[in-house]
């Protein structure tokens, strides 16, 4: 295995372990490991113990995956080794989470944690009557980068060679180039990707600014204040991420059009990878810092002794450890995630959910089907960028 491939594999394991290991920090304190608990039980010894055990077992799983990987990478073909290590790691991490989830559920059931408590739900009507305005000004830099990239492409297009290097494959000491005939579609494909990436992030922002917040019936005013601050921070985060993604793809387009992709060597990949990686790290960093729905943000005390209510225990609608939500009677299509990190998840009990999932499945299945039928070439000739593959023997 080449050093670059080994580094990539180890980094992938580290990222997976970190992502799962940080879940308790991102998830709300009142929903440890996907189990709703009353506020006064947040510091319960059973939850602390489950968190400690979870963290240690996740780290141990990561170490085990590295050790097994080092054995398998030398014994199996790269694809088979990666699949085996990936499967082992995924199964191990899921097992760690499932164990912690069961531990908290058991403690909650045995301790009757909701007995004697009045459950409620809460809404902040001002989120609907005075919603945060869409930050169009903040979206301008990304749109400007797309426009500049398109203009540069239009200026350079007449002077482009008959074939463009679209991808560089490093296979040990060997270097292979993938080329494509220069047409408006192939030449401007990076601009289309750029526009699509930014459009998806801006659409995600539009949706999240209007999405249903995660309520706290015990301290609703403080929760509402936190949610507004969360939305403003989240908007800035997504806009920053969109700008970095636009810059990364713009850099790729420049390398592509000027022929530097073929000449500059593997270090050129860093010019594109760095802002793209940063784009993802910004989102992850914010998620870890402020938590799901901004629950970690400070809020001025405005609820006095509290309302006397606790947020409704809706565990019965959450399945697979708090990852899947199914509630036929809930009106919302999307609900705040409970266990699987930061963001929102689809209510699979909502009639529109299956239409959305069906559309996504079709979007994936149709190109694959067309490829298998030979209508579309899926050989990877349209791949733009760099690949690092192990040396063939």
């Amino acid at each position: 295995m080449t050093d670059a491939a080994l580094l990539i594999n180890l980094t992938a394991i580290a990222v997976a372990v970190a992502a799962v290991g940080l879940l308790p920090r991102i998830s709300r304190d009142t929903v440890p490991f996907g189990v709703r608990v009353p506020p006064e039980r947040v510091g319960a010894p059973e939850i602390s113990a489950a968190t400690r055990t979870f963290t240690l077992s996740v780290l141990a799983t990561g170490v085990l995956a590295v050790l097994v990987g080092l054995l398998l990478w030398s014994a199996l073909p790269p694809g088979a080794a990666a699949a085996a290590v990936g499967t082992l790691l995924a199964a191990g991490l899921v097992g760690c989470y499932a164990r912690a989830h069961r531990a908290v559920r058991r403690a909650k059931a045995q301790g009757d944690w909701y007995v004697g408590l009045r459950q409620g739900v809460v809404a902040d009507t001002s989120l609907r009557t005075e919603p945060l305005p869409y930050p169009w000004l903040g979206a301008l830099p990304s749109l400007l980068v797309i426009a500049v990239t398109a203009v540069v492409g239009a200026v350079l297009y007449p002077g482009l060679p008959d074939r463009l290097v679209t991808a560089v494959v490093y296979r040990g000491e060997d270097v292979e180039y993938t080329t494509a005939a220069t047409t408006p579609l192939t030449a401007f494909a990076p601009v289309l990707f750029q526009a699509l990436a930014v459009a998806v992030l801006l659409a995600l922002l539009r949706f999240t600014l209007r999405s249903r917040p995660d309520g706290d019936a015990s301290r609703p005013r403080e929760n509402a204040d936190r949610h507004r601050r969360f939305l403003r921070i989240w908007a800035r985060t997504l806009l920053t991420s969109a700008l970095l993604a636009a810059l990364a793809i713009g850099a790729l387009a420049l390398l592509f059009w000027t022929g530097a992709m073929a000449e500059a060597g593997p270090a050129a990949a860093a010019l594109v990878a760095a802002p793209m990686l940063l784009s993802g790290l910004v989102v992850i960093g914010v998620a870890v810092r402020i938590g799901q729905g901004g629950w970690r943000l400070h809020a001025e005390p405005r609820d006095g002794a509290g309302t006397g209510l606790v947020q409704q225990d809706d565990d019965r609608f959450w399945h697979l450890g708090g990852v899947v939500y199914i509630n036929r009677h809930a009106p919302g299509l999307l609900v705040p995630k409970r266990a699987s990190g930061f963001g929102w998840t689809v209510n699979l009990g909502h009639p529109a959910a299956w239409a959305v999932l069906g559309a996504v499945a079709l979007a994936v299945a149709v190109p694959i089907a067309l490829g298998l039928l030979g209508v579309v070439d899926l050989s990877g000739s349209e791949f733009y960028g760099w690949k690092f593959e192990p040396e063939t023997e």
Binding site: Q119, V122, D124, T129, L309, P331
Partner: protein, 143 residues
């Protein structure tokens, strides 16, 4: 406006929504012209069927406190500064007041105590929720 619903209460959810909006109007949190979310928006945020919210809004409309229109949505129609209510308001309200008073009398509460408690409750009904919470805390500290 924060709208909290007690799911363990005997009071139906639509009634709690209606009561909370009335309290918000009385305290000045909602004023004439203040908009309210659509029935679907509020239903989605509370996790209840939008027909439940619709029932609450319809109660308020019939009481003359809410205007519902396809163009402007749900808007508060009157508040304490709007002026005296329609004379038709009093028979229904006095009927409900009569039942409340009868409940207290049936439990042995004297007329003086009823008046004193009403006197104590009246400013709280007209106070924003924050002020009510602060007063509750001060009372708690005194006792």
């Amino acid at each position: 406006m924060i709208l909290a619903i007690d799911l363990d209460s005997d009071v139906p959810i639509y009634q709690q929504i209606r009561d909370r909006i009335v309290q918000a109007i009385a305290s000045g949190e909602l004023r004439e012209g203040s908009p309210l979310p659509t029935t679907r928006q509020l239903g989605a945020d509370l996790g209840v069927n939008f027909h439940t919210v619709n029932k609450a809004y319809d109660l308020l409309r019939r009481e003359g406190l809410l205007r519902l229109s396809r163009k402007t949505g749900a808007v508060i129609l009157r508040d304490p500064s709007t002026g005296a209510p329609d004379p038709a308001f009093f028979p229904g309200w006095e009927g409900r007041l009569g039942v409340l008073l009868a409940e207290a009398i049936a439990q042995g509460v004297t007329a003086d105590e009823i008046v004193e408690r009403c006197r104590h409750q009246l400013p709280r009904a007209a106070a924003p929720d924050g002020a009510e919470n602060e007063e509750d805390e001060r009372e708690g500290q005194r006792t």
